[in-house]
């Protein structure tokens, strides 16, 4: 009996040896899990990376089952979703997992990005991790937007109609481009078919590839931590970081707790509030797409609303404000800087030219530019942030105040984007749009002023009880 067991053990080892000679299975396992050294002081905010991967897997798996029953055909799509909800055994569960998963994905990703900002995870040497992450965010938005059309509800239809028509404002090629995207003059069966192809094949492939690159880059430079200090600065006699622990088993078991916490909330929505008061599944989407009946308020789903608010905030009033501001900034730059006279005159001229451009262009065009710029800003973060320290724990007060105001503005924009505009709400959205961009434009300034706290040499753990 004992011999038999021993043989088994030997054959298992032999198998891994055979395997490792042909494919670096053990090497990859060690490098990325068992011997990947992570700082030991990860806190609550560090759950969202692994949770994002969990949600990605949930979306891929539920997506496969939905694809088995869904019909990407304008005449059949809506009924096929109801077929899934009624006739497919537990189809409703798979569908709610997917629709709730879409919102959960954005919740998790927004919190993951916020973590990066507060602990300086975007800073040198992790710029590539951050940039790939930003591309993931953009790809995720495209994935969500295309998926939103597939149930072929009335809001799906009109939402897609509005967003695709934004490309119309691009000079010269705009109208031809929108027609090319839709494959028709309006949103139609052709659009539905190609969005289905993008949603189930192209973008999932891109997302998985990007997530892989995100991890490759991360494991090359190592994880940041809530103190924003480098654990490789303090090594033990073996040359290993004193504050580092292997990712597996320490963080695999810790992340299991996070996974359970997430699942409780996620399942709470799926089983008790699947439409989440009309935020995750909108009322208008329970009526099939009707090209003749525009919903009273066309609003995107909640995760797009901060950017949608910025788009809508771009009115003539905002452009006039921008025009005056650029003149004032130009003059201020001329008066208060110490460049040579021709350059200072150049500042004023640039301000005046910018003002003329603002006053002579359409609000719609600038709305699209601002919305795109709002997303591009995230890509620039590693270079806009000039603070000598990474973590919010040691940052100066101006940064904390600026970040708090920015987060507030972001939430207000998100809220305003869910509702029909009124004059006062549009004004509020314009103020918040200015705050949004001011946060990024002024970041090199407010991150370099104020007094930062001294950095510790070792990471700080929660006090032992």
């Amino acid at each position: 009996m004992a011999i038999h067991r021993h043989d088994n053990h030997k054959s298992a080892n032999g198998f891994m040896e055979w395997m490792d000679a042909r494919m670096p299975v053990t090497k990859v396992w060690n490098e990325h899990l068992a011997e990947y050294i992570a700082p030991k002081n990860f806190n609550f905010w560090y759950y969202f990376g692994s949770l994002a991967i969990l949600v990605l897997v949930i979306q891929l798996v539920t997506g496969i089952f939905l694809t088995m029953h869904y019909k990407p055909d304008a005449a059949l799509a809506f009924a096929s979703v109801e077929y899934i909800m009624r006739d497919v055994p537990y189809g409703w569960l798979v569908r709610y997992m997917h629709s709730t998963g879409a919102s959960a994905f954005f919740v998790v990703v927004y919190l993951h990005m916020f973590r990066g900002v507060i602990y300086g995870s975007h800073r040198e040497p992790r710029e590539m991790v951050w940039l790939i992450g930003c591309v993931i965010f953009v790809a995720l938005m495209a994935e969500a937007f295309m998926g939103y059309l597939l149930p072929w509800g009335n809001m799906s239809y009109w939402g897609a109609q509005v967003i695709i028509s934004l490309f119309d404002v691009i000079p010269f090629v705009g109208p031809a481009l929108t027609e090319w995207i839709r494959g028709d003059f309006v949103i139609s069966d052709a659009t539905l078919n190609r969005f289905f192809a993008f949603h189930v094949i192209l973008l999932p492939l891109i997302l998985v590839a990007l997530v892989f690159l995100h991890l490759v880059a991360l494991h090359h430079v190592g994880s940041n931590n809530p103190d924003g200090i480098d654990i490789y600065d303090e090594l033990d006699e073996d040359g290993k970081p004193k504050d580092g622990i292997p990712f597996h088993p320490y963080y695999t078991v810790k992340d299991l707790v996070g996974v359970c916490g997430f699942l409780i909330l996620y399942m709470g929505v799926i089983f008790f509030f699947p439409d989440f008061g009309g935020i995750f599944l909108e009322k208008d989407n329970f009526a099939p797409a009707n090209p003749l009946q525009t919903p009273p308020d066309i609003v995107p789903l909640w995760y797009f609303t901060p950017f949608y608010s910025i788009l809508r905030a771009s009115t003539t009033t905002l452009l006039t404000f921008f025009a005056y501001s650029s003149v004032v900034i130009g003059i201020a730059a001329a008066l208060f800087t110490k460049f040579k006279a021709p350059i200072r005159i150049g500042f004023v001229a640039a301000g005046v030219i910018a003002a003329i451009v603002f006053l002579n262009s359409s609000g719609k065009a600038w709305g699209v530019i601002l919305m795109a710029a709002a997303i591009v800003c995230f890509f620039l973060l590693p270079w806009l942030d000039r603070s000598p320290v990474k973590s919010i724990r040691y940052r100066s007060l101006p940064f904390k105040i600026a970040l708090a105001i920015f987060i507030l503005a972001f939430f207000i924009l998100g809220y305003l984007g869910m509702n029909a505009p009124t004059p006062i709400k549009t004004l509020l959205a314009q103020v918040c749009t200015c705050i949004y961009f001011a946060f990024f434009v002024l970041m090199p300034w407010f991150t370099s002023i104020g007094k930062t706290k001294p950095l510790p040499t070792r990471v700080t753990m929660k006090e032992e009880h």
């Binding site: 320490y250 699947p274 935020i279 987060i407």
Partner: protein, 263 residues
């Protein structure tokens, strides 16, 4: 840091709460609250009976199947065939109307909408108020009008049950208190539906109270029809979440055990 986290959570929570109030249609339309009990099978069965008798002749419920309704509502198949199926012999069929869409369009000016998902598009309270708000109006093509959905093309399908109402006028919010007091005294010279005041000109087969109950049953059935899964979704949810809570406790203990040597 804790303060910022708390602040953000508070903002997120308030944003969700306020926007869901808005999403629920925080409009100024006065609606009557409907009391529904999704586990009351008798109420759902009565709603189903009213639905096939009074709604299905013009409206379809084309995403729902007869046998699924029978199964969920615990209606025996022979009872289903005798009492609920008028348009088809196959119990697995979708609940389609017999009225051709073109004819309907010609007769009413619009094709009557499918009702499978009406409770997910409109709120149950809206349906309950709408069904009780029909009144006689000789100026409209059908001879009927509705105080909640003005100039609706639909005639009063259930006037034989409710009787014929005459609109006495709209009720102001300031009058509401006095009217409620009046109603509490058991007076029956008028009824209030939404923000409209009606006089019952010809009584129907049902008293106003009976009709209200019947319409609550019908609204419950339509709510069920919008999402059949809701009958078992919450039960599954309770067990699933209870399981994950237990799992979380075990995972936490496991984590604690592994992390004992990390200081």
């Amino acid at each position: 840091m804790k303060k910022i986290t708390t602040l953000i959570v508070a903002f997120a929570a308030s944003a969700i709460v306020s926007s869901s109030t808005f999403a629920a249609g925080g409009s100024d339309v006065a609606l009557d609250k409907v009391y529904m009990n999704m586990s009351d099978k008798a109420s759902l069965q009565n709603g189903a009976k009213l639905f096939v008798n009074y709604c299905l002749s013009c409206h379809s419920a084309e995403y729902a199947r007869y046998n699924r309704v029978a199964e969920d509502l615990e209606i025996p198949l022979h009872r289903l065939k005798e009492n609920l199926m008028f348009t088809t012999e196959k119990e697995g069929d979708l609940m389609k109307t017999t009225m051709p869409a073109e004819d309907a369009k010609e007769w009413f000016g619009v094709t009557p909408p499918d009702l499978t998902l009406v409770a997910r598009v409109r709120k149950p309270d809206w349906i309950y108020t709408y069904l009780r708000a029909f009144y006689r109006d000789d100026s409209s093509p059908s001879g009927w009008n509705n105080s909640l959905f003005e100039n609706v093309a639909m005639p009063h399908a259930m006037y034989e049950l409710q009787g014929v109402q005459k609109l006495m006028g709209k009720v102001d919010k300031s009058e509401q208190g006095a009217l409620d007091a009046h109603a509490a005294q058991g007076s029956d010279d008028y009824t209030i539906v939404g923000d409209a005041k009606f006089e019952l000109v010809h009584p129907g087969k049902m008293t106003p109270a009976e009709f209200d109950t019947a319409m609550a049953d019908l609204t419950s059935f339509l709510t069920y029809l919008g999402e059949p899964a809701q009958l078992k979704r919450k039960t599954i949810g309770v067990y699933s979440i209870a399981f994950v809570i237990l799992l979380m406790m075990l995972c936490y203990l496991l984590k604690k055990e592994y992390w004992r040597d990390v200081h």
